[in-house]
Symmetry: C2
Subunit: 124 residues, 2 copies
């Protein structure tokens, strides 16, 4: 439906789109990664702070996800060596490239919730 009528897309174009979305999902897909990024963007930087914000996530999973986000250059782990040691996670510049993805998902999620609440979807 994105393409529909005028010009049928080439097989290559189709594969390219499939690959691109596949790539994106591979890196930021999953239950938690984008939510953690949102929590960070809202000012939560410390481990327990993030865990409290992203409700439902366990310490184990959060720890894993943070490591992966760091590997993918979305966040950096900063250690303040003064006592007491404070560890803060910060979003990188690269994480900002996700803005459109985040916004579109957020908007769609809100719209969808509204559709379900008002029962406008059941009739389709």
């Amino acid at each position: 439906m994105i393409r529909k009528s005028i010009q049928p897309p080439s097989k290559e174009q189709c594969t390219a789109n499939l690959t691109a979305v596949g790539d994106a999902l591979y890196v930021v897909g999953g239950k938690w990664k984008l939510r953690i990024i949102i929590a960070l963007s809202e000012g939560n930087k410390r481990f327990n702070e993030i865990q409290r914000t992203v409700t439902g996530i366990s310490a184990r999973v959060l720890s894993n996800e943070l490591k992966q986000l760091e590997q993918n250059s979305f966040i950096t782990r900063k250690v303040q060596t003064e006592t007491p040691v404070i560890i803060e996670y910060e979003l990188t510049e690269y994480s900002q490239t996700l803005e459109k993805v985040l916004n579109s998902l957020r908007e769609w999620g809100m719209m969808h919730r509204e559709k379900i609440k008002t029962g406008k979807l059941s009739g389709l």
Copy 2:
């Protein structure tokens, strides 16, 4: 909680964003759903056709995903009763609401792949 500078987002706003993205991921998250929607949008309508386009998906998983997509009003299953029976999956109007999500993910995926290919990410 030390709040940033100009306008701190309220806790409610933060939770709302988290919930919205969570909702969206709940419905269209996962390895296959968006890819199946892309395959359909590119003109592939029949079961085996979709399976060939979305490389790597097994019949069992495709069958499950199609059922879920139907439940969520993204597709409809149309049966042509003339012999031979032809079954076609078609995108609904509601699936078009995903356009921005799809586009942003596709663009981000392409950009990300390019970044990795040119090694521009390893240095961060």
